[in-house]
Symmetry: C2
Subunit: 254 residues, 2 copies
């Protein structure tokens, strides 16, 4: 099994949207994917219109429940979900300090290996204890960069944070950045993409870019990944097929 | 002096954009505003195209420097800035635990009262130690809610977090929510605004809404608040005049 963490210091750049739609696309192409939601807000479950009442990861950690009992099946055989579960807001700091050295997630990794080829982890914004814990059990990390000036300006800090964690002994490798919410006809948005293409080493910027598209609001309003929106999914959903193909090759899952 | 914190559990909802443009609009209307950036990413400075090399808040706390020495003047007499300053990424957890009970920020409050009528505090996403510290020294908190389904779904957790902190003794009052990035011609975006108008008590939803507008990308690309973009500011900048007026009345600054 491989493990991939989706992380970013900046908020609202598309971590949850990429996690959900990439997991769905990779599962339709035959990879067994376990999507784990480590964001205390439980955005993955929210994106799927589910109430957060299952025990989820919070139950896995607190009551030592077996993973098999907590996984949520989806309409797709190859995709299972581990939601954050029922976590009281005031318990978030305790969760962050519990996870920050990654030890409790070791059991997640071991039990996930029985059911999945890829463990995909969505994280909250920033590099607090939860994200550091997730990175400590991940082989790779993918950084969504929103094609807007503010998100570009904080990219250096994200790259520094990753380099710093590797300096402290974490093995996680930077897979690269994926450009999200790109508006090709907006000069300020396009300038961000052009700067990434010219500044970053080419192998660290994924070829697939994700355009800003109203279909994403429709999908999250309907509580489904793009691929399940309506009888015929919106044309933009093929972007995640391309992203899935690119990642299969990079992760050695093809 | 009054103090107002801009906070949200969800990332990328417009906290920094509202903080910066509201501070600028209130200062043009005669309120002396100190805008303090408590986000370790230093987004306020990034929005103004500045390098983060000043000591800023990190220097204020670590070296007990006087506030007067750290404030950055702007083109507007009534607006001064306290950037986050030069903070190494690995020092963020220590900052979060240092601030979480708010005590170090007490000195900020006392010294700010000599220079400002309003202390406006931008915070990182989530309700970690830094945001809890900021809330503990704030009279009021304003919650930006992005007019998109995912942001609405996490609003309950934000309201719960505020109620929980008040239960633990914090005096901060919820001023209300401000709808950001509203797309009136997109049914999914409009549905979020309509749900807020029908679900929340009317006094808790500000009358002023902030539309999604490309001018915001131009302004952050140029490193200025909307009011300083180009020879004649874009029409959308009047939205922050209206927001300023509304807040002056609610905060008793008129
Ligand atoms: N390509 C896109 N086009 C249009 N809207 C998008 C796109 N990707 C994401 N969105 C919307 O932008 C908002 C932010 O996306 P999302 O919640 O996935 O970001 P995030 O990085 O997970 O945020 P957080 O920091 O809160 O975890 C959501 O409302 C989502 O529906
Ligand atoms: N009304 C708007 N219309 C269009 N774009 C906007 C608007 N408000 C903010 N933006 C853009 O949306 C992005 C997110 O805004 P911003 O960085 O202010 O959010 P934030 O809540 O401070 O994010 P973080 O959680 O990272 O602190 C930025 O690129 C900003 O320029
Ligand atoms: Mg998310
Ligand atoms: Mg911000």
């Amino acid at each position: 099994m491989k493990s991939l963490c989706i992380a970013s210091a900046k908020g609202g750049v598309g971590k949850t949207t990429v996690s959900l739609n990439l997991a769905y696309a990779m599962a339709t192409r035959g990879t067994r994917v376990l999507l784990a939601d480590l964001d205390p807000q439980g955005a993955v479950a929210h994106s799927l219109g589910r109430r957060e009442l299952e025990p989820g990861l919070a139950g896995f950690l607190a009551q030592e429940l077996p993973l098999e009992e907590l996984l949520l099946k989806t309409r797709l055989d190859g995709l299972s979900l581990l939601p954050m579960g029922d976590l009281a807001v005031e318990d978030t700091p305790a969760l962050a300090s519990m996870l920050s050295d990654g030890a409790p997630l070791g059991r997640l990794l071991r039990e996930a290996a029985d059911v999945a080829d890829l463990l995909l982890i969505d994280t909250p914004c920033g590099f607090g204890g939860i994200t550091r814990g997730a990175l400590s059990v991940s082989d790779h990390v993918l950084l969504p960069v929103q094609a807007e000036p503010l998100s570009l300006r904080t990219l250096d800090q994200t790259l520094e944070a990753i380099a710093g964690l590797r300096g402290q002994g974490l093995a996680v490798e930077l897979l690269g950045v994926v450009i999200t919410m790109l508006q090709q006809r907006d000069p300020d948005s396009l300038a961000v993409a052009e700067e990434l293409w010219s500044r970053m080493p080419p192998e660290l910027v994924l070829d697939t870019t994700i355009p800003r598209d109203k279909a994403f609001l429709r999908a999250s309003g309907a509580g489904v990944p793009l691929g399940l929106l309506g009888r015929r999914p919106p044309p933009v959903h093929v972007v995640f097929d391309r992203l899935a193909q690119e990642l299969e090759a990079r992760l050695g899952l093809d």
